[in-house]
C-alpha cells in the first residue's frame, strides 16, 4: 500500500473503496456512483487502473496498491499531478484524483498516446464540471515521455 505493507482486519467482502476511506483514512479515492460508471474511485492495483468501488478488499491481498496519497510520497508532485495543475484541469476537483491515476496508468501502458487514444483511455472517467478539454491538454503535455516530465 503506497510503498509499504499495510494490514487490515476487515471482512474480505467489503469494497476496497470503503476500506481505503473508512479504515485506512485514504479518502483521496472518491465515491461517485458505486457501479463502476464514473471512475472517481480509481486506484492502481499492480499498476493497473482499478475501480475500487467494484473491487472486494479480499481480492487485493498481497498486491501493490497506489492511491492518490501515494503518488507524491515525498511531497514532490508526480508529473501527472503537475500537468493537471499546469493545465488548470479541475473545477470542483472531486473526479481529479481518479483522473490522475487513470492518466498515470494510461501513460504507463502507452507512453505516447494520441488524442483518440487519450479519449479511449480516459472515457470511463466522468467530470461533471466538464474539464475534459483540460485533462486532454494535461495528458497531451506528457505524451512522448511516459508520464515523466
Amino acid at each position: 500500500m503506497n510503498g509499504g505493507p499495510r494490514g487490515v482486519d476487515v471482512d474480505a467482502d467489503r469494497t476496497l473503496l470503503s476500506v481505503l476511506r473508512d479504515d485506512l483514512n485514504l479518502t483521496g479515492a472518491k465515491f461517485g456512483c458505486g457501479e463502476g460508471q464514473c471512475a472517481a474511485c480509481t486506484v492502481l492495483v499492480n499498476g493497473v487502473a482499478t475501480k475500487s468501488c467494484l473491487t472486494k478488499v479480499g481480492a487485493v491481498e498481497g498486491k501493490r496498491i497506489v492511491t492518490i496519497e501515494g503518488l507524491a510520497p515525498e511531497g514532490k508532485l508526480h508529473p501527472v499531478q503537475q500537468a493537471f495543475l499546469d493545465a488548470d484541469a479541475m473545477q470542483c476537483g472531486y473526479c481529479i484524483p481518479g483522473m490522475i491515476l487513470g492518466a498515470v496508468a494510461l501513460l504507463g501502458r502507452n507512453p505516447n498516446p494520441n488524442d483518440a487514444e487519450i479519449v479511449i483511455g480516459m472515457n470511463g472517467h466522468i467530470c461533471r464540471c466538464g474539464t475534459y478539454p483540460r485533462v486532454m491538454r494535461a495528458i497531451r503535455a506528457l505524451a512522448g515521455n511516459g508520464g515523466r516530465a
Binding site: 456512483c33 496519497e69 481529479i96
Partner: protein
C-alpha cells in the same frame, strides 16, 4: 461571531468590517434578534490581518468548483498587495462568516467580489496609517508591495505593523474602487489557490469527513414519492450487532459502524407502504403542465409546442452531511450552496436558537444549483440526535438520482412572424413550469408577448445552472431559425437584423468570425447552427458544427465556438474553464439527458441509466472572451450554458432539414 470575539479568536491585529446595508435589505438577512451584541446586521464581509501577517477573509459564499475561492483571493491581492499564499479565505461557516443568502445566481462576482476588494483596500489604508504613526513619516513617502510597507530604508511586514493592535474599522460598501483598466492582479489568470490539495487528494469534501464514534446512516425511503408507511418490522435489523434503528412516524433510518452494514440493515427492514396514484409520467407530463396552469392556458391556436425534459444535476459528490450534537449545540458539515439556509432548516426542524446550530461547508464536489437545501443535513442531524453519536449521511448515487430535486421540465409554446426584410413583427411565447429566467427576448420586437405559467409538478424541482434560461433560449433561438427560414434569410443575418443591443451584436459577430460562419461549406451529413442570448448580466453567442448519421440520426457535435462577454474579466483562464464546462454540461441536457419517471418512481435512477457527457462526447471547444474593462464584472458560471442546445438543434436542422422541438434532442 460577536465583535469582541474577533481578537479573542484571531489574536491581535486589524479588522475591517464591510457594512453593506443595501445587500442586507435586498436579501432580507440576517434577521437576527436576540440579546447578543452581534456584529452589525448589515456586515457583508470581514477581513483580519494578524500579527503573523496572515490575511484572513470571511465570506458566507462557498466554493463548489466555480473558483470563487481563487477569484476572491485575487480581490484581496489586488488591493492589499500581498502574496496569494498569505491570504486565507474562510467560506461558508455560519459561526464565523457573515450572513449570505447563498452561492447562486452568478452573484459572487458582481456582489461579493467588489465587497472584498473594498475591505482589502480599507485594510491597506489602515496599514499605511499605522506606518505613518509608528515612523512619523509623510503618507506620500510610503510604498506597499508584497506584504510589506516601506518608506526610504524603513520596511515592515504587515504582521509587524499589526503587532499589538486591536483596531477595528467599519467601512461602507459604497467606497469607490479602481477601474478595471488599472488592475494589476485581477484580470490575470491566478491559478486555483488550493489546486495542490486537489491533485494530491488532500482536500476533504463532506463525503470524506469523520468524527470520533461516528456511525454511518441510511434512510428508508418509500418506494413511490409521497407513499405513507403502513407498518414496519425492524426486528431483523435491530438484531444486527452494532445497528441502531430510528423510527419517528414515516421517518425510518438505521445507523451502523460501517457503511456496508448500514446498507444491509436498511435492506432488512420490512415495511408496508400505501400505494399512491401518480399524476403524470415523463411522457404525459407536458399535457399535465397545461392542464394545471394556474392562470389558465394560452388561447392562441397557432402556437408551436416545444418540450423540455426534467434533468438531474448529477454532482459527482452526492449530497452528504456529518452531524454532531454536543452540549445542546448542533454542528453539521455539509456540501450546500446555502449554508445559512440550511441553518434555518435545522433551526426550524429542531426548534433551537440559531446560535446553537453551526453549518460548515467544506469546498464541495460541485452543485450546479442542485445543492440549495439541507436534505442530507436534516437526515444526519435527526439520526444523530436519536442515536446519540455523530452520524454521517452520505447519499449514494441512486439516492442522489431519485431523492434530490430536478431541473424543471417544461412545455413552451411559441408563435411569431417575420416581414420579408427579416423584421420580426409578432412574437408570442408561453413557458409552462420550466421557469421565467431568460423568458424575455433580447431582440427588439414591438408588442411581443411573453408569459410564464405556474403549474403543478409531479416531481420535486428546483434550481439548476442557468435556471430556465436554457429552456427559454433553446426554444427562442430554435424558433428564430424557423422564422429566418420562413423569410429565407441566413440565421446570423436574421438575428443581427433584429438585435439592436450592441453587446448582443458583438458576441454574435465575434462567435461567427471565429467559427468562420460566412465561409462555412455544407457537406453531406454536416450542419452548422448559431444561437445567442443574454442572462445574468452576460452575453453569449454559440456556433456549433455537427455530424448527423443519415441512417441512425445519431448526432456528434464536432466543434463549438463560444463568444462570451461578462464585463471586465476577472480571471481569463478560469473563465475559459467555466465556458468549456458549461458547454460540456449543456451538451448533456441538449442531446441525451432526461429523467424518465412514472408511477411515482424514477426509472433513470443510476449513472448506468442516465447518460452524462464523457470525453468521447466532447467537441473541439473554442472560446472568445470579450473583455469589457469599461463594464462591471458579471458572474460567469451560468450564462455560457444557454446557447449550446439551440446551436446544436439548429445545426441538426441545417444538416438534415429536421426540426427537433424537444430537449433532449436525441430522445
Amino acid at each position: 461571531m460577536k465583535r469582541r470575539d474577533f481578537f479573542a479568536l484571531l489574536g491581535g491585529g486589524i479588522v475591517v468590517l464591510l457594512d453593506d446595508e443595501i445587500y442586507a435589505q435586498e436579501t432580507g438577512g440576517p434577521r437576527r434578534g436576540g440579546d447578543a451584541p452581534a456584529v452589525p446586521l448589515e456586515i457583508g464581509a470581514w477581513l483580519h490581518i494578524g500579527e503573523t501577517g496572515v490575511v484572513t477573509v470571511y465570506t458566507g459564499k462557498v466554493e463548489v468548483g466555480q473558483n470563487a475561492r481563487t477569484s476572491l483571493t485575487q480581490a484581496v491581492v489586488e488591493e492589499l498587495h500581498v502574496p496569494p499564499e498569505s491570504v486565507e479565505m474562510v467560506m461558508g461557516d455560519t459561526d464565523l462568516t457573515p450572513f449570505d443568502m447563498g452561492t447562486f445566481g452568478s452573484m459572487t462576482t458582481p456582489r461579493m467580489w467588489p465587497q472584498i476588494r473594498r475591505a482589502a483596500a480599507a485594510a491597506r489604508e489602515m496599514l499605511l496609517d499605522l506606518a505613518v504613526r509608528k515612523w512619523s513619516v509623510e503618507r506620500t513617502t510610503l510604498t506597499i508591495a508584497d506584504g510589506r510597507v516601506s518608506a526610504g530604508d524603513r520596511s515592515a511586514s504587515f504582521g509587524e505593523l499589526a503587532h499589538g493592535e486591536k483596531w477595528t474599522r467599519t467601512i461602507p460598501a459604497s467606497v469607490p474602487l479602481a477601474a478595471a483598466a488599472d488592475w494589476k492582479v485581477a484580470g490575470k489568470s491566478l491559478p486555483k489557490v488550493n489546486g495542490r490539495a486537489i491533485v494530491t487528494g488532500a482536500h476533504k469534501y463532506s463525503w470524506d469527513l469523520k468524527r470520533p464514534g461516528m456511525l454511518h446512516a441510511k434512510v428508508l425511503y418509500p418506494p413511490q414519492f409521497g407513499a405513507k408507511l403502513i407498518s414496519l418490522d425492524a426486528a431483523a435489523a435491530e438484531a444486527m450487532p452494532g445497528v441502531k434503528v430510528v423510527h419517528e412516524g414515516d421517518f425510518v433510518a438505521v445507523a451502523a459502524p460501517e457503511v456496508e452494514k448500514a446498507a444491509t440493515a436498511v435492506a432488512a427492514l420490512k415495511a408496508q407502504w400505501k400505494p399512491v396514484t401518480a399524476a403524470a409520467d415523463y411522457r404525459t407530463v407536458f399535457q399535465y403542465f397545461k392542464q394545471t396552469a394556474q392562470d389558465g392556458a394560452a388561447k392562441a391556436k397557432n402556437l408551436t409546442p416545444y418540450t423540455i425534459a426534467y434533468i438531474a444535476h448529477v454532482p459527482l459528490e452526492p449530497r452528504a452531511a456529518l452531524a454532531e450534537w454536543e452540549g445542546g449545540k448542533l454542528t453539521v458539515w455539509t456540501g450546500t450552496q446555502r449554508p445559512f439556509g440550511v441553518r434555518s432548516e435545522l433551526v426550524q426542524r429542531f426548534g433551537i436558537p440559531e446560535e446553537r446550530v453551526r453549518v460548515i461547508v467544506p469546498d464541495t464536489g460541485s452543485g450546479y444549483g442542485g445543492k440549495h437545501n439541507g436534505d442530507a443535513a436534516l437526515e444526519a442531524a435527526r439520526i444523530a440526535k436519536a442515536v446519540g453519536t455523530p452520524v454521517k449521511r452520505n447519499w449514494t448515487r441512486e439516492e442522489e438520482m431519485t431523492r434530490a430535486y430536478f431541473r424543471p421540465g417544461g412545455l413552451i409554446e411559441v408563435a411569431g412572424k417575420a416581414a420579408a426584410d427579416g423584421t420580426i413583427t409578432e412574437w408570442e411565447f408561453h413557458n409552462y413550469n420550466s421557469g421565467g429566467s431568460g423568458l424575455q427576448s433580447p431582440y427588439n420586437i414591438p408588442g411581443k408577448k411573453e408569459q410564464f405559467h405556474q403549474t403543478k409538478s409531479p416531481l420535486r424541482q428546483g434550481s439548476y445552472r442557468g435556471l430556465a434560461a436554457t429552456a427559454n433560449h433553446f426554444v427562442r433561438e430554435s424558433y428564430m431559425d424557423e422564422l429566418a427560414q420562413s423569410v429565407k434569410l441566413d440565421p446570423l443575418e436574421f438575428r443581427l437584423k433584429n438585435a439592436k443591443d450592441e453587446r448582443l451584436r458583438n458576441v454574435l459577430v465575434a462567435a461567427a468570425d471565429k467559427f468562420g460562419w460566412k465561409g462555412r461549406k455544407k457537406t453531406a451529413g454536416r450542419g452548422f447552427g448559431i444561437a445567442a442570448g443574454f442572462e445574468k448580466g452576460g452575453y453569449v453567442a454559440t456556433c456549433a458544427e455537427v455530424g448527423v448519421d443519415p441512417k441512425s440520426g445519431a448526432v456528434k457535435v464536432l466543434r463549438a465556438v463560444v463568444a462570451f462577454e461578462c464585463g471586465a474579466v476577472v480571471n481569463p483562464e478560469h473563465l475559459r474553464n467555466q465556458v468549456e464546462g458549461a458547454i460540456a454540461m449543456g451538451l448533456g441536457g441538449a442531446l441525451f439527458e432526461e429523467i424518465q419517471f412514472g408511477e411515482g418512481k424514477i426509472a433513470t435512477n443510476r449513472m448506468s441509466k442516465y447518460r452524462v457527457p464523457r470525453f468521447a462526447d466532447m467537441p473541439v471547444i473554442e472560446s472568445v472572451l470579450l473583455d469589457r474593462k469599461d463594464l462591471v464584472s458579471a458572474g460567469a458560471g451560468e450564462t455560457p450554458i444557454v446557447g449550446i442546445a439551440p446551436a446544436i438543434g439548429n445545426a441538426i436542422f441545417d444538416a438534415n432539414g429536421k426540426r427537433i422541438r424537444r430537449l433532449p434532442l436525441m430522445a
